[in-house]
């Protein structure tokens, strides 16, 4: 069996170079087809990898530097099912983004497609690598490609500011990760995840590695954009071009949580065995706060893009709760939810583009073409997507949400279950409400490209289809998560090449009785909220001076100031470090 582990990274990178060369000589349509071919190749490679790692992980040592005497010397790609699955999701969402780029961006040229490909290469590398420093490099490559794309519309000062905020906040996050890596290296002398974990399991956590843990958590959570690290995302998701926001919402955010999970299970799980309750509680709390606060704000803001930005924050919070349970069951739920929800959110941004909330031309256009096919298609996407967002059991959001709820309840956090049900209901309501208010609005007719909506609707339907199909992979996810969280087997596989025996934790679950009721409850509440009834009642009931005071403060805090964003990042990091320092022994 040939080892194809590095190819999902190599192919998009080579594709990016080829696209840059080709765009000088061939028309744009051909360039787009080139880029699409590279993305599809990545998807196929990731799918083959998933098949190859079905019974045991693949370890690829660059330059043939295999471990000597069970000490890792070289740099490895360590591919397991969850990692390969994340690389596949990255490919799928990138394919959707590349497909709709010509109709949702202003004249995308070869450079844009090249950036999408480097972004995909970085995401794939981040998912597949088994080396901590490698993770940092791919983390930075993701950020750099993404913020170059978010600054694409150089005519809009808002978009430029959004890009700056994105770049500066994420760079601070990357430096926190790098400092964490340096500290871990100083106490273990290793950079390979398995080697660091093996070393720490013997020596236990010293002060340097405890600080490293809090810095790595903070750094990855900045990328995940959970509260209080979410300010950059609110700004960028409002101003960036549709295809980039699709990738941000579909995978990039979730990869921050993936980073937390990967580093926890490979490095910190054994030395933290006695103290894991502190980490668990802190991460569940961060996730629950994100779900509650961002969920509430999502329905209070009226601008559709801002709403969606808060929906993203709330949902990343839900994924984080799943991972934070620190159990195979939680990882499985988080994985299913990440795929089911990521594809739905990517489709939702297509829906917004279809009804004409677009930022591609420097400013928001609220052209309203009541009854045009494009609008009808957009509304259909928003309504289906809104129901999926609330957790309709037809889609994997329902199964993932139910699994995360069950994991949280088993881990002893019943209040987190309440937060998840609430967040799903209000975010679903927020999306449905976009549809119900957009339907009523009227405005001047715009000249449309004939039938530009057909491919967009097709892409959105495929994304919904993938979300629905993901409900069938519950058992696969349970096995995959069992292996993902088997720290010892991971280390043995990397350091001594021993084949991992499938871990005994094959959690079986389905959307069974109590949980499916919670799903349906969320959906029902979302429909009520989406119809606008609840907002009107709340407006009538709550005392208005107090409301407007708090409301002004909330809006001011989210006005896109880079300094504010950096302040919150600092406070959040200090908070994480403080919690860990005071609760760990």
């Amino acid at each position: 069996m040939t080892n194809i582990a590095p190819l999902p990274v190599v192919v998009p990178l080579v594709g990016a170079a080829a696209v840059l060369f080709a765009h000088l000589i061939v028309p744009r349509r051909v360039v787009q087809a080139f880029a699409m071919a590279a993305v599809l190749a990545e998807i196929c490679l990731a799918a083959v990898l998933i098949h190859q790692v079905r019974s045991t992980s693949i370890v690829y040592w660059f330059g043939g530097w295999t471990p000597r005497g069970a000490v890792a010397l070289g740099i490895s790609f360590t591919v397991d099912q969850i990692g390969a699955g994340a690389a596949l999701l990255a490919g799928v969402v990138s394919a959707a983004a590349v497909a709709v780029a010509p109709s949702t961006m202003r004249d995308p040229d070869g450079i844009v497609y090249a950036l999408f490909l480097t972004l995909l290469a970085a995401m794939a590398g981040f998912c597949l690598t088994g080396d901590l420093f490698n993770m940092f490099v791919f983390f930075e490559l993701m950020a750099v490609s993404a913020f170059a794309l978010s600054a694409y519309d150089t005519r809009s000062p808002d978009a430029l500011r959004g890009a700056l905020n994105f770049a500066i906040t994420n760079s601070i996050g990357a430096f926190l990760v790098l400092i964490g890596i340096a500290l871990l290296y100083s106490s273990t002398g290793a950079l390979n995840l398995a080697q660091i974990g093996h070393q720490l399991a013997r020596t236990g956590l010293d002060n340097a590695s405890t600080v490293a843990l809090s810095l790595l958590l903070a750094g990855f959570l900045i990328k995940a954009a959970v509260i209080p690290f979410h300010f950059w995302l609110i700004d960028t998701a409002t101003t960036a071009p549709t295809p980039l926001v699709m990738i941000l919402a579909g995978v990039l955010d979730t990869l921050g949580v993936y980073g937390v999970a990967r580093v926890y299970w490979t490095v910190f799980a054994s030395p933290l065995a006695a103290d894991h309750r502190a980490v668990q509680f802190m991460l569940v709390a961060v996730g629950a706060i994100s779900a509650l606060v961002a969920g509430t704000l999502s329905i209070l803001f009226s601008d559709p893009r801002r709403r969606m930005a808060f929906v993203m924050v709330a949902h990343t919070g839900i994924v984080l709760i799943g991972v934070a349970c620190l159990s195979a069951r939680g990882v499985a739920g988080a994985a299913i939810y990440a795929v089911g929800d990521g594809t739905v959110k990517a489709a939702l941004f297509i829906g917004l583009a279809l009804i004409g909330f677009e930022t591609a031309h420097g400013q928001r256009q609220d052209h309203d073409v009541a009854g045009s096919p494009s609008r009808t298609a957009g509304l259909a996407v928003l309504i289906v997507g809104g129901l999926a967002t609330a957790g309709l059991p037809l889609f994997a959001t329902g199964l993932g949400k139910a699994s995360i709820e069950k994991a949280a309840a088993v881990a002893g956090f019943p209040w987190a279950v309440v937060a998840i049900v609430f967040a799903a209901a209000v975010t679903g309501g927020a999306v449905l409400n976009i549809a119900s208010t957009a339907r009523r609005a009227t405005g001047p007719r715009r000249d449309e490209h004939a039938c530009a909506w057909v491919p967009q609707l097709l892409v959105a339907s495929i994304l919904f289809g993938i979300s629905a199909l993901t409900t069938k992979v519950g058992t696969w996810a349970a096995t995959a998560a069992g292996r993902f969280s088997d720290t010892l087997a991971y280390q043995q596989r990397v350091l001594s090449g021993a084949a991992t025996s499938p871990a005994g934790i094959a959690t079986r679950y389905a959307t069974t009785f109590p949980w499916i009721v919670l799903d349906l409850l969320s959906v029902a509440a979302a429909i009520v909220l989406g119809s606008g009834l609840a907002q009107n009642t709340a407006r009538r009931l709550s005392p208005s001076p107090m409301r407007s005071g708090i409301w002004t403060a909330i809006r001011r805090v989210h006005d896109g100031s880079i300094g504010d964003s950096a302040t919150w990042v600092t406070l959040g990091t200090a908070g994480i470090a403080l919690v860990l320092a005071t609760t760990m022994h």
């Binding site: 490099v137 000062p157 400092i179 340096a182």
Partner: protein
């Protein structure tokens, strides 16, 4: 172990972060980010320093000779490359902002309030 380099790294990090938070000029803000990044260079090199160690080039010294850690030097080099990319992109964005709005003050770039 000499704590001075770690103190310097911490100082650079904090002072750079302070610059980012309080700055009223985008160029100053971007350079502050570079200062934050400089703290990671110092930290990495400090982690790999061995007292009395030679440079890790074995062309003209016996392989038994103690050297400083070459791995962190490679990491620092990678980090410098990353930093150059980030700074270049950010400065390009700042130039565009100045072109469009005629200002580099982040306060003037705040989003207009909306409901």
């Amino acid at each position: 172990m000499n704590l001075l380099p770690f103190g310097v790294a911490l100082w650079l990090f904090v002072v750079g972060l302070y610059g980012i938070v309080t700055s009223r000029n985008l160029l100053h803000q971007i350079i502050s980010l570079s200062v934050v990044q400089a703290s990671t260079y110092v930290l990495l090199l400090a982690v790999g320093y061995r007292t009395g160690g030679a440079a890790p080039v074995f062309a003209d010294i016996p392989t038994s000779r103690a050297t400083v850690d070459p791995i962190v030097q490679a990491l620092t080099l990678t980090d410098v490359v990353v930093g150059a990319t980030v700074s270049a992109l950010l400065l390009a964005v700042a130039v565009q902002i100045h072109k469009r709005t005629g200002t580099l003050d982040p306060e003037n770039l705040r989003r207009r309030p909306e409901s």
